[in-house]
Amino acid sequence: MNILKKIQLPTGILTWITLIAGVWLVFNVPDDFQQGGAVKILYIHVPSAKMALLSYLVVTVASILHLWKRSETADILAEAATSVGAAFTAMTLASGSIWGKPMWGTWWAWDARLTSMLVLLILFKGLMVLRHSLDDPVKGARATAILAIIGAVDLPIIHYSVVWWRTLHQPPSLSAGSNAGIHIAGPLLTPLLILTVAFMLLTLYMTTVKARQIEARRRLDALETARMHADE
């Protein structure tokens, strides 16, 4: 956990630099031929969605490690990434709605992409609730890890929803594989790539701060318990 303390400040500084550079580029981006200025919402929406999925992937891997190796560090990482992922998921849904109202004509549609993303938010919130719903924190952590691994089925569903089913949401603009192709023209693409990097750093930074806070809280709880036993 010492490494977290070391990387926190450098990651924070790098995050600020890339975020400011990215946002400055977004303000200078040309208008889209159809959406006009509303295309700027893309630069929050897409990186947020990517980071939401990435955070859940981290939660899943950390949960597997926790169940397998009984690693406390993995559990702390899972708990931290859960909070961060929930924030990015909420940001994705909110920015998507704000774009959807003027562009599609609706805030919300129950298509496969939007619904599976809402399921992800419910999963994140469920993990947060489940952890503290059991009196024994060890059991709570284990139950949370199991739910997290089961919930991972939502990840491929979200990713492929726009390919497997016909949705109101557009298919991926950046994709590899059989349907490879870049559907975003150069001047609109560069800020997106820079902001994706910025959001990755932001995710790393937020997870670091959160993990340190969780670790400190657990140490305090342990001290508190020890003191109470000593008093008895």
Binding site: D31, D32, S173
Partner: protein
């Protein structure tokens, strides 16, 4: 006696099996319900069973088919997947992205086998993002992407 390691392996195995079963269930049973709209071709083929039911049809607004009744919010247009064209009637507000040659999802009912009356119109955006000064390429590309997604 089951060792601790085996117990953990069993637990992981069970969790992965349950997860796999969930995916299989979603992929096999809900596929029909998860489709947000019918293509015009499907909608015409199923006119009989879909009549008087509220359905969504997705396609492209046929270029040159949009007629606005002056002085009202009433419009008529054809929604197409390049093989089948469906005449649609609608009265009300339109989303910013609604225009000829672009994607649309109309929600409503078959009034007669020849006419679909929409109560809601949603614009369907393609995955293409193109600056204003490249509009012509953008229009061509988004048409192509949209028709491909209706296949």
């Amino acid at each position: 006696m089951i060792s601790l390691l085996n117990k953990r392996l069993m637990l992981m195995f069970t969790v992965i099996m349950v997860g796999g079963a969930l995916v299989a269930l979603v992929l096999t049973s809900f596929t029909g319900a998860l489709v947000y709209f019918h293509t015009p071709t499907e909608a015409v083929a199923k006119t009989k069973e879909l009549v008087a039911k509220k359905i969504r049809i997705g396609g492209m607004v046929q270029t040159g088919s949009l007629v606005r009744e002056s002085g009202t919010l009433k419009i008529r247009f054809l929604v197409t997947d390049s093989t089948t064209h469906i005449p649609v009637r609608y009265e009300g507000m339109l989303p910013d992205l609604f225009r000829e040659g672009q994607g649309v999802v109309v929600e409503g009912t078959w009034q007669s086998p020849q006419e679909f009356v929409a109560t809601t119109i949603l614009a369907k955006h393609s995955e293409d993002y193109v600056p204003v000064d490249m509009s012509e390429q953008g229009i061509a590309k988004s048409k192509e992407s949209l028709l491909k997604s209706l296949k």
